[in-house]
């Protein structure tokens, strides 16, 4: 028997550690490209202020990298402890991109970060720029392989189930690499990281400008951040639309939950801007709707329908009934390996094996499932609508608020007026947490929306967990949360301390707040 509490705690632990981990990641992803831009201008112009910008923002980037590195390792710990059955079932596919990430991208990233910080006096300008660019490439390659693994969890292509080994086995590596879900997720996620980096530089620069500190340095930083941020936030929105389209294709349950779309509507479906969701009655009590928009986003056509939750549930009921036959055949084969009829039945219904396994939450013998159990399994196939609906809208709302800020910041930098707009600078400071919030909400929508599966349509979450004790999970949860909280506090302390010092901390003699006894560097 698997206690429900064990499943919930395992999920909570993974969610907590993943969300903490992703507080560090997007800033690394974004700031590294800002460093490449700043250093490129330095190499092209020879203007030393651009070198100072690269070194100063690189220092803050280094703090974030040092605090963030290895924070993802606890997630991998959990695969072996809390999610042992998941790891066995899909490790053949899931393990490959994680291993490639560790061997290739992580080492590339770490090596060049060392050269970036200690190579200023040892490498030529161009050599150092190449190092910075390779560091950026390594950082983004890290994200690529992780998101290929995650994309496969959302849309498991290029693999098939082997009943003899009881695991999914890879049949097409390139299908996994070029999985449309993974690619859409990668570009959307890294773009969100670029927005985070840009917002960080914009906010800190706005703070200097409001205080009249190191104005020339801060003006240049503000301009670069505004331009890069505007391009990035436009990418996030466009690529988010692409991500929404791939979700609509591969994960109709997630799409329907995000839109609180209970019934299938004539194409093109309207978009529920806001709605009063009544989960128990499975309907919306009221809604503000925009005609056509949902159909265009979800299908990119005016004639294709998007299935509503009730239609999806009806389909899933059929799949669960088919899945019962697959599960029964699998259990027969496991005890009678030569049973040709069971093998034929399994092959016939293998696509629905995961749906049959959903009933395992309620009964040991799926053949004995009662109509009530089947009803509950059907309900399980749709994630809770209310949190999905509002989390998605909060994420999109933050995205458009950032678009407005970056667009205005860029426009005023073109006109050279941003210093005379203190409200804009204050707005930039207050928006600092926005990209982090949006990133966390995005991950919530992606992962909570995949429930009740760890591997969509293949492996239910409740069968993925290990049979650990609830007490040990409480202990490890407290340990992990404590660990990450300490790191977060130290990160904020160091960031505030060195950001307050400003470029004067470089000790070049060109800025305010120069440290006493500083050695000229540049």
């Amino acid at each position: 028997m698997i206690p429900e509490q064990l499943v919930d705690l395992s999920r909570l632990q993974f969610a907590a550690t993943a969300l903490y981990h992703f507080l560090f990641v997007p800033l690394t992803l974004g700031m590294v490209w800002l460093l490449v831009i700043m250093e490129t201008v330095y190499v092209m112009t020879g203007n030393v202020v651009w070198k100072d910008m690269t070194r100063f923002w690189g220092k803050l980037f280094g703090i974030n990298f040092a605090l963030g590195v290895t924070t993802g390792i606890t997630l991998e710990f959990q695969f072996g402890t809390n999610w042992a059955y998941y790891s066995h079932y899909v490790g053949d596919i899931f393990g490959a991109p994680l291993a490639i990430e560790g061997l290739m991208a992580f080492f590339l990233e770490s090596t060049f970060i060392g050269l970036f910080f200690f190579g200023w006096d040892r490498l030529s300008r161009v050599q150092h720029l190449v190092v910075t660019a390779l560091m950026a490439l390594g950082t983004n390659l890290s994200a690529l392989w992780i998101l290929i693994a995650n994309g496969w969890m959302q849309n498991p292509v290029g693999a098939e189930f082997n009943w003899q080994t009881m695991r999914m086995e890879m049949t097409d590596f390139w299908a996994i690499v070029f999985n449309p879900d993974a690619q859409a997720k990668f570009v959307h996620t890294v773009s969100a990281g670029y927005v985070t980096g840009a917002m960080f530089v914009l906010s800190v620069s706005a703070w200097y400008l409001l205080r009249g500190r190191d104005v020339e340095f801060a003006k240049r930083s503000f301009r670069v951040a505004a331009a890069f941020g505007l391009a990035s936030v436009c990418s996030v929105i466009v690529l988010g639309d692409e991500s929404g389209y791939t979700v609509g294709e591969a994960q109709q349950t997630k799409m329907a939950a995000i839109e609180a779309m209970w019934e299938t509507e004539p194409a093109p479906a309207a978009f529920n801007l806001v709605a009063g969701i009544n989960e128990s009655a499975q309907r919306n009590d009221w809604a503000v709707r925009i005609p056509w928009v949902m159909g265009l986003i979800g299908t990119r056509s005016v004639s294709r329908e998007i299935p509503g939750i009730h239609e999806i549930q009806a389909r899933n009921r059929e799949r669960i009934l088919n899945g019962v036959q697959a599960v029964t055949a699998l259990e027969t084969l496991r005890s009678h390996r030569d049973d040709a009829h069971a093998l034929a039945t399994l092959k016939q219904h293998q696509a629905d094996l995961g749906f049959g396994l959903l009933l395992k939450r309620y009964t040991t013998d799926v053949r004995q499932a009662t109509p009530a159990m089947i009803d509950r399994a059907v309900r399980d196939t749709i994630p809770r609508v209310t949190p999905m609906f509002w989390a998605f809208r909060a994420m999109v709302g933050l995205g458009f608020a950032m678009l407005a800020l970056f667009a205005l910041a860029f426009w005023t930098t073109l006109k050279g007026r941003f210093r005379s707009r203190p409200w804009l600078l204050r707005w930039a400071i207050w928006m600092l947490p926005a990209p982090w919030l949006a990133c966390e909400l995005g991950w919530f929508v992606a992962e909570y929306g995949r429930q009740p599966w760890t591997i969509y349509g293949v492996l239910p979450t409740h069968l993925s967990v290990s049979t650990l004790s609830v007490t040990s999970l409480y202990g490890s949860l407290a340990g992990f949360v404590g660990f990450y909280t300490v790191l977060l506090i130290v990160e904020i302390y160091l960031m505030v301390k060195f950001a307050r010092q400003g470029p004067g901390s470089l000790g070049t003699g060109r800025y305010q707040n120069e440290p006493v006894h500083a050695h000229a560097h540049a």
Binding site: M1, G62, F77, T81, S280, S472, P515
Partner: protein, 64 residues
Amino acid sequence: MNASDQNLLRHLGWVLAIKLLLLLGLWLAFIAGQRVPVDAASASAHLRAAPTVSGNPRLQGARP
């Protein structure tokens, strides 16, 4: 490298060292002894015998 850089390096050195120690502590306390070995037979047995919901009835049937 100026005094500020050295100060930062000292901070980061301590942070990395303490982080590795904490990770090692977490590993020893919660991970090293908890690894669950799984093979085809145990995975099959898990699927066969694992089922049923227990505890927290609030979560049952509350979903749409």
